[in-house]
Symmetry: C2
Subunit: 714 residues, 2 copies
């Protein structure tokens, strides 16, 4: 790619970003869009539903930017939980580290690269038509002493990154403890999940659990809630809920429209039917069926050998959690209970061995998925080499000769396809994680986040860098000795592609800001159903796709810091835009469905360490290629030091993210002793973990008692 192509791309994307932002500031002021742009404000009753029309509503403004900028961390915690704070810290950390990197890169490395003469004599005349390679390390002469600048920069940036990583880890782990210390008593602090309960004939599961814990934890045990096999019941309840929603919607329409539909094909033929009455009857039947099934489940004992066991204190729960309960390690397996509404009921029935097998199957499936997507990447990569594409599809030759088209195809289209493809994967990864037997949505999200991260790095980075075919990727993995030198050749070659990718991603952030897909969905719904009173759906932020996406830019920043420092300002712009946009979205749009208490941070930390080591390995290869073997040897301690630093952090901070200490738990328990509301809390605790499928279903009872009357009226 040449400079002018890059500038075209920057122009297009900057323009689009500004346009989308302006559009957003107008659209969000329209009362009809409030559901899309501020669902959580509506839910919290904070949004002013202005009745009168205002000309200002049609003018773009930047008030939302100021608001998002001024948001304090305390406010962010209150609206998005500690996970939201951690998500925000990713941007703060990245901005800090890449600010330093950009200063070094632009003011030291870039001039050194440009003034090198490996590629051609220095010539300032025809800048727009210069290849971006002139700004990369490729242009520095082999064996030049200027390369020691790059060498020092590698040490410097590693030092800065490690210092900032340490500070962030410390900051977030302290935040985690502080927020636990000031938290109200919550069911999941007092409860553990016991799985693989041995079933003895004759006694019910609940009795078995009660006997066991009364025997070994007599002073701490409070109650238990056995888990039932309710997948069939859950299906019925979902049906009933859909039907109820349809019925409500139908009844909200003008009376004359209520029974417009016909019973025949596509509602066009056949006789008019009494729709409301029909649905009411159907709903009544369905609910009768649900009640029958519910009593059936509890009486006939379709029990899963698992139970939520609650204790009288947090420390009591910790004792049962961290000390192996049974002689056989595959029985009475305990784990931390999630928050009650965080429990993922569908995949609850797996046993120790089943979970183990599922884990292995999922491992295989994930590898297959990656191989499948490698094919897609191979195609996308073809686009960056126009000659290959022309050879493949000769009829495109004429079109591709037009400068704009060729620049769009090389600079914009490949990244767009990658962005779209990458958007398909998160749901699949979440399904995989769910099948692995995690019991909480948050755990599934966290596991999917890890999978997505590996997927993103493998496919968006390595597959692009290493010419994208499965065989070449395997060949490199199986020949570890040559990794540095191969990477040193391949990574710089893709610098232009990734600069284009970063620039394109600005627009994709605007998509996020405009919530394009929900907006279109909402418009469609409004046009089709001509009504506006559906249930308000408040989304939660999909960490499992967002975090890896952002971390990828960190990876790109570190790996190209030495090779092509030109990428750094574009990455800085990405993080700046992202910082504002996500703060805005966390405040207005997303509502957290659970709070892991910052447990996403270790993923960020590990990914950054990986990026650092990757950068160092590539530098090793680069200095070798550039005929400066001394620098290559002197760089060897750097990855070792980085990994040691990581090991130290793992020991120093990671335990805090997995459990709370006896000290913390006992202090909290003692505070509660003087709290008069604890009695009430313990009363509620006994029923907190009831399967929602077994809750009484009350659609008809509550507000539809009159529906038979209504239908008879018509």
């Amino acid at each position: 790619m040449i400079v002018s192509a890059l500038l075209t791309s920057v122009g297009i994307n900057l323009g689009l970003s500004v346009l989308f932002s302006a559009l957003y500031s107008v659209l969000r002021k329209q009362p009809g869009n409030l559901k899309v742009y501020a669902p959580r404000l509506i839910a919290e009753g904070q949004s002013r539903q202005r009745g009168h029309f205002n000309i200002e509503d049609l003018l773009p403004s930047a008030g939302w930017v100021r608001k998002a900028w001024q948001l304090s961390e305390e406010d962010l915690y209150n609206s998005a939980g500690l996970d939201g704070v951690v998500f925000n810290r990713i941007f703060i950390f990245s901005l800090r580290v890449f600010a330093v990197a950009a200063i070094i890169g632009l003011f030291i490395l870039l001039p050194v690269n440009f003034l090198g003469n490996q590629l051609r004599e220095i010539d300032f005349s025809d800048l727009p038509n210069k290849s971006l390679d002139f700004f990369s390390i490729s242009n520095v002469q082999d064996g030049s002493n200027w390369l020691w600048c790059h060498f020092s920069a590698a040490y410097l940036i590693t030092g800065v990154a490690c210092y900032l990583l340490y500070a962030e880890y410390k900051y977030i782990s302290e935040k985690r403890i502080t927020y636990f210390r000031v938290s109200k008593p919550q069911p999941h602090h007092f409860t553990i999940l016991v799985r693989d309960i041995p079933v003895h004939g004759g006694r019910s599961l609940s009795e078995t659990v009660e006997t066991f814990f009364m025997e070994y934890h007599p002073s701490d045990y409070l109650s238990n809630t056995v888990v039932w096999r309710t997948s069939k019941l859950q299906g019925l309840i979902t049906d009933a809920e859909n039907l109820y929603r349809r019925l409500t919607h139908l009844k909200s329409r003008p009376r004359s429209l209520q029974n417009q539909s016909r019973s025949g094909f596509l509602g066009l033929f056949g006789k008019n039917v009494d729709l409301v009455g029909h649905y009411s009857k159907k709903l009544e039947d369905l609910e009768q069926n649900v009640r029958l099934q519910q009593s059936d489940v509890s009486s006939r004992g379709k029990e899963v050998p698992a139970a939520f066991v609650s204790f009288k204190s947090r420390y009591g729960a910790a004792k049962a959690l961290y000390i192996r309960q049974s002689i056989d390690p595959t029985e009475w397996v305990t784990e931390q209970a999630p928050e009650p509404h965080d429990v993922y009921w569908p995949f609850f029935s797996t046993s120790f061995t089943q979970r183990w097998i599922f884990k292995l199957v999922i491992l295989g499936a994930s590898i297959l998925l990656i191989l499948l997507f490698l094919l897609v990447v191979a195609f996308v990569q073809g686009l960056t080499y126009l000659e290959q594409l022309e050879a493949l599809l000769p009829f495109l030759r004429e079109i591709l000769k037009i400068a704009v088209v060729s620049q769009i195809v090389t600079g914009y289209l490949p990244s767009l396809i990658l962005h779209l493809v990458a958007a398909l994967v998160p749901p699949i990864m979440k399904l995989f994680s769910a099948m692995q037997g995690y019991i909480a949505r948050s755990e599934i999200e966290k596991s999917a986040c890890n999978k997505m991260l590996i997927f993103t790095i493998c496919l968006l980075f390595f597959a692009n860098v290493l010419s994208g075919t499965v065989t070449s990727l395997l060949a490199i993995l199986l020949d570890p000795k040559s990794i540095p030198s191969k990477l040193a050749v391949a990574v710089p070659a893709q610098a232009s592609f990734f600069i284009a990718y970063v620039v394109t991603s600005w627009t994709s952030l605007s998509w996020e800001l405009n919530r394009t897909i929900p907006l279109i969905g909402d418009l469609m719904r409004r046009v089709c159903s001509r009504s506006n009173d559906d249930e308000l759906q408040i989304p939660s932020i999909p960490y499992c796709s967002e975090i890896p996406r952002i971390l990828l830019f960190g990876l790109l920043g570190f790996t190209y810091f030495l090779l092509a420092p030109l990428i750094l300002p574009f990455i800085m712009v990405f993080f700046c835009i992202g910082y504002i946009i996500y703060r805005n979205q966390l405040l207005n749009v997303y509502q957290p469905k659970y709070d892991t208490g910052g447990r996403f941070w270790p993923i960020v930390h590990n990914s950054t360490i990986f990026a650092l080591v990757l950068m160092q390995i590539i530098s090793l290869g680069i200095f070798g290629l550039k005929k400066l073997p001394l620098a290559s040897s002197l760089l060897l301690p750097l990855p070792v030091i980085t990994l040691l630093f990581n090991d130290y952090c793992r020991r120093r901070f990671l335990p805090v993210f997995y459990d709370f200490s006896a000290e913390t738990l006992i202090k909290k328990d003692r505070e509660d002793l003087n709290d008069p509301s604890m009695g009430e809390f313990f009363d509620k605790l006994g029923t907190a973990y009831r399967d929602p499928a077994l809750m009484p279903i009350r659609h008809l009872d509550s507000d539809d008692r009159s529906s038979p009357l209504l239908s008879s009226e018509v």
Copy 2:
């Protein structure tokens, strides 16, 4: 190596083994040798010190074999602890699995190999001069369908080995639980070691510990013993003890000899001195110094931030052990306390960060050690290729032309050197492990055992197989794709060497039986000092060198099972001899100094799994070389299945080897409630973990009160 050379070696070694055994049966009947051959029987007062001479004492007998054979596992447990039982189970497991292997190998694989004609036409005439290669897989024709025998054998032996491994793991984990259940209350069940105690100015460490545990474990906490920095004191005490021993020895000599020595050079010149008086005075001074230091240590507070904390129940200790105590994971670090006499005091002062650094330093040192020994192996290997040796040292040519010499040099000398070199490493590995900051001798032994295992496999197996140079070893490690094919070429080539090695090892077992080095040491001492009343030193079995040595033969058995089944009968003989000899030694010689409760078994299990996978990888390569790629592909699932099996075992059994369950602990605690002797036990518990260096020293007080008198007499 040809068949006749092998037979020579078998003859020599079998002869030596029988000779040594006969020698042993005679020597052990001599009353003077009882200290060498039955120290633990003497210590337990079980040995009959027969006074009168008996002609039978000079005739070899096999009574000890019968006795060792008939020993029940219960007896073995009583005399050698669960670790002894586990050690014995290694032989039982190996005998079982190699019995099956030998049957398959000798009756199916060996005939198939011999009847192949890849190397030459079948010719039974000149058997003694045939190369051993005729009995190996090399002789089977490329692409022959007979290779499917080998293929089936690989699956069959993997199945048998896995079944037996599972059975053993189950058996030993059950034994571990059973023995804990019937055990008496022991201090280390009630005690934990707390390290990295935060020091606050003003308060003593003991007070800090007391305050902390009284705050968070008020109902369980019993007492604490702070660890002091006593390395200087320990040196003084060792000096005093040596001096005391010397004095006792001196006084036991006839009065006339007591002050024979002179004060001058080598005791030859100068005036006669009153030795007893001199030593008594010196000892008195030394003990005074020790007492001074002891009071100094406690008063001036040279405390290590570590303490043994005892609890009123096992479950109480478990609670403090398994739940992280402090908010900061690097403070109040808890670990299981070892048995009181198992504590390794010298390296006690390391902090969290120090231990971490030491661990890394040791890792580096271990790698250096391996590289150093590779040089030795490279030399040894030269011996098997006589031509190389002749070229190197031309003056040996004439000697090497003698058939016997050449056969001894190729068949016996290399293995002998390897055996000797391997004997030097365990003490170094133990020192390394001690420096890593383990607090128990048993832990050090276990860690050293792991290191020795890696060392043994790397050096005795891989270095021999892969031509022994560092660079070639690294080249193979860095090119994983070619590992199977390279191993498939290299491993069979060394079959003769390893057959010779196995055969030589029979003799080394006889060395163990005869306790050659302690015997010589004892003789030397008796000759030199002309006295027989030294302190009785009962050795403990050095698991860290013995277990890896035995496991190496398992590794050889598995890897050569398919390639050269001729090795199997020799390995069987090794295990049979070893089974008898080690049972005998465990009964008569060694006394356990600690009991890890069978925690050596996971090492054995992992090593066997490694051997199986290695065998499978080599087979992959062999079938590829032998032009039967279908078999090679069909073999691919086998290592995967084996590793899955290992993973399952790790989850199912391994936790049992690390901790006891709440169920077990609470049951034990409840039994103790009715035990009247527990009060006494708890009284003793408070002082069980006192540093021996701080115990009152009482040599003079007890039996040497009269020494000044004695010296004034002379």
